[in-house]
């Protein structure tokens, strides 16, 4: 009886989460340009449209470039910071950890507006590079959190052994630390990448008038009515996210990454 209730509850939550995606998937295969569910006819033409239509293809390309670059910059900020905080005893430096987490904790409009006023004041407003830096700052939290977790799970006696054998900081980092935190590095990048791909408000406030990322493109299209490409792009994005997180889960320890460590794993 309770097992049945349990299954039922899982099923209902699953249905709630899947329903919008199911409907959009149905709508995306309509043969003609109408918003109908169940779909009338079947066609994958709207998926091809993402790549054949110049506007959608450019938006997709812009989004992927932005996500790949900004996640890399976020990693470049997070790695030395997380390493320093793990290697050194400097309590005041924790302020930077806090600064790294703040943009993600505050309502996104705030970070977006702060960056908009900043880029406008410095005269760079609208340039593509500003979006890369803005997203890197906005999403630096993710690699920072995964890397802090990665560093804290390193057995310090390993590092100590290496140091006793005469390895300097650089060698220890390359031969011991880096291999151990690599999964956390990759997942931090993956999280930042997927979220940047989907991010709307920061991109819109920084480069919304000069560049179209996919979320901006979808929103602009939404304001002028409906086109089935929005539906196919949505499904594409769900698929990308599920694939990337699926890979993270396949090659990493997802429950642990999300903070569910058993107490013996902790320092």
């Amino acid at each position: 009886m309770t097992v049945f209730l349990q299954r039922l509850y899982f099923g209902l939550i699953g249905l709630f989460l899947a329903l919008p995606i199911i409907v959009v998937a149905g709508v995306s295969v309509n043969e003609k340009q109408d918003l109908a569910f169940p779909p009338k006819g079947f066609s994958l033409g709207w998926y091809a449209e993402i790549f054949t239509n110049v506007e959608w293809r450019n938006a997709l390309f812009a989004s992927i470039t932005l996500a790949a670059l900004s996640a890399a910059v976020a990693l470049l900020i997070a790695l030395p910071l997380a390493w320093f905080l793990w290697r050194r005893h400097a309590p005041w430096a924790n302020i930077f950890q806090l600064l790294g987490i703040a943009p993600f904790t505050l309502p996104p409009v705030i970070t977006a507006l702060g960056l908009l006023t900043f880029w406008a004041a410095t005269g760079f407003y609208g340039q593509p590079a500003t979006a890369v830096i803005s997203h890197a700052i906005f999403f630096v939290t993710l690699p920072l959190v995964t890397l802090s977790l990665g560093f804290s799970s390193i057995d310090r006696s390993l590092v100590e052994a290496a140091a006793t054998m005469g390895a300097d900081d650089r060698t220890v980092f390359r031969t011991v630390v880096l291999p151990l935190i690599l999964p956390y590095l990759v997942s931090g990048y993956a999280f930042a990448f997927v979220l940047s791909l989907n991010e709307y408000i920061v991109a819109y406030m920084t480069v919304g008038f000069t560049m179209e990322t996919l979320p901006i493109k979808i929103f602009n299209a939404l304001r002028y009515g409906y086109t089935p490409t929005m539906a196919s792009v949505t499904i594409l994005f769900v698929a990308i996210a599920a694939t990337i997180f699926g890979l993270v889960a396949r090659f990493g320890d997802l429950p642990k990454l999300l903070g569910a460590m058993s107490s013996r794993d902790q320092e």
């Binding site: 989460l17 569910f37 430096a93 409009v109 705030i110 507006l113 590092v159 997802l254 429950p255 903070g259």
Partner: protein, 284 residues
């Protein structure tokens, strides 16, 4: 290797790039925004430097009071819906097999990462007359004719709950995984039904976690900037929507900045509350 206190100046070198980036591109923009909130609006361009309180004085209007009141009410409603749905769900999930857990976590992360634009579009489709859920009800013979369910308050609330639910589960998840399973076992041995054990043992043991999560989801919902615009009527606009609108469409940056500063203060106050609730949880 123990953690060492930095000895030489070069020991600080790894900190230079991260600290520089965070200061230049987060602290300075934040300060710029605060400065702009005291500037005067310039209808022809962005703004002119000044030091006036006009932008803050506008908070004292009935319109602003209504928007603020509605934003807070909506965020509370979303947070409560999410907690009610997520606490039992996360509890069951944390007791499920590892494979099941990982599968759900991947699904939850995928939905959590979805753009607000996409969530808004998906729900507006689901609530539409031509492709919406009501077509299904017509097919089942429950309704006579398909209807549009948006724009409406219910549509905004549902979509925001949808957006915040994965977040709620992921915030609760670590705490629930760590919850001592012997607690419920003891209750069960003493003859409590699983449901009774959940409400009399699990929920009280997690009271502080639940309060902290409630506040975090509240902040998350407060940041929602598009769903009220896509799925609601103008009276359903929240503070975040209003800030975007003022900054982009009305090009009134100083007023938008003043509202953003206000939103930061509300958020910081709430984060303080969360930390306080967390502390109390540790000592309890």
């Amino acid at each position: 290797m123990r953690r060492e206190t930095p000895q030489k100046l070069t020991d600080y070198s790894p900190l230079v790039f991260p600290a520089g980036m965070l200061i230049v591109f987060f602290v300075v923009p934040f300060a710029t925004m605060i400065a702009v909130s005291f500037f005067k609006r310039n209808p022809s361009g962005f703004y002119t430097p000044d030091f006036v309180f006009d932008n803050y004085a506008r908070f004292l209007s009935l319109f602003f009071g209504k928007v603020l009141g509605f934003s807070l009410m909506l965020a509370i409603a979303v947070a409560i819906c999410c907690i009610v749905l997520a606490v039992p769900f996360t509890y069951l999930l944390s007791r499920a097999r590892r494979r099941t857990q990982v599968l759900w976590l991947v699904a939850l992360l995928s939905i959590l990462s979805l753009s607000e634009v996409i969530i808004g579009f998906a729900w507006s489709t689901l609530f539409s007359r031509t492709a919406g859920i009501t077509n299904l009800l017509v097919m089942l013979g429950i309704m006579d004719q398909p209807v549009a369910l948006n724009p409406s308050f219910g549509a905004v609330l549902t979509a925001m709950t949808y957006q915040a639910l994965p977040y709620t589960v992921l915030v609760l998840y670590p705490a629930l995984v760590r919850l001592d399973p012997t607690l419920t076992e003891a209750a069960r041995t003493l003859g409590a039904s699983p449901i009774r054990a959940f409400f009399t043992v699990v929920v009280p043991a997690l009271r502080n976690t639940i309060v902290a999560t409630l506040i975090m989801v509240f902040i998350f919902a407060l940041g929602c900037y598009l769903l009220p615009q896509i799925l609601g009527r103008p009276q359903h606009w929240t503070l975040s929507v209003l800030i975007t609108d003022q900054a982009i469409y009305q090009s009134n940056m100083p007023f938008a900045a003043a509202m953003a500063v206000f939103l930061v203060l509300v958020t910081l106050g709430l984060v303080g509350l969360t930390v306080y609730a967390g502390r109390k949880g540790e000592t309890a």
